[in-house]
Amino acid sequence: MMGIPSTGKRVEIGSIDIIRFEDGKAAKHWGETDVMTMMQQLGVVPAQ
């Protein structure tokens, strides 16, 4: 993933997304995903 070879590790992360609808369909999307925690769980970035 993103250049990181598979680690076999199990990860659990959070995300918040906002989707704006126009004429019955999603037209805009904003999202924040806790990528930092995922990288720490993968062992790519040191935990705090």
Binding site: M2, G3, G14, S15, I16, I18, W30, G31, E32, T33, D34, V35, M36, M39, V45, Q48
Partner: protein
Amino acid sequence: MSTEQLKSAAKRFIEQGFNQKNLSAVEEYFSADLVDHALPPTLPPGREGRKMFYAAFLSAFPDMHVHIDDLLAEGDKIVARWSAHGTHKGELMGIPPTGKQVNVTGIAIDRFENGKSVEHWEVFDQMGLMQQLGVIPAA
């Protein structure tokens, strides 16, 4: 509280707490019984940890400014999509000041009871922040 009151409370909190750097806004906005789902495990739980978390960022980025990009409220919950900018002038979580200007975005959700937030969720672009500070290589 009405949804309009929730929005006013969130706007006041961000204006006072971050833009005027008055952290007494934390006690005004959050209940003493706050359950905080977004704190790093190194901080004490609840409101005390939330205040320490904000204090750490304000001392690292003394010129920090937070802008509310979107504010949504329904029932007893409020969602704030925000963006912040500031200059890294003080130590942050062990990172010495870099003098770098950073831009960060995040989304926060609060659940209110009796006029204060009792539950807080938040995700912000911590990875992007660390990349802008040069601590983590950019993807």
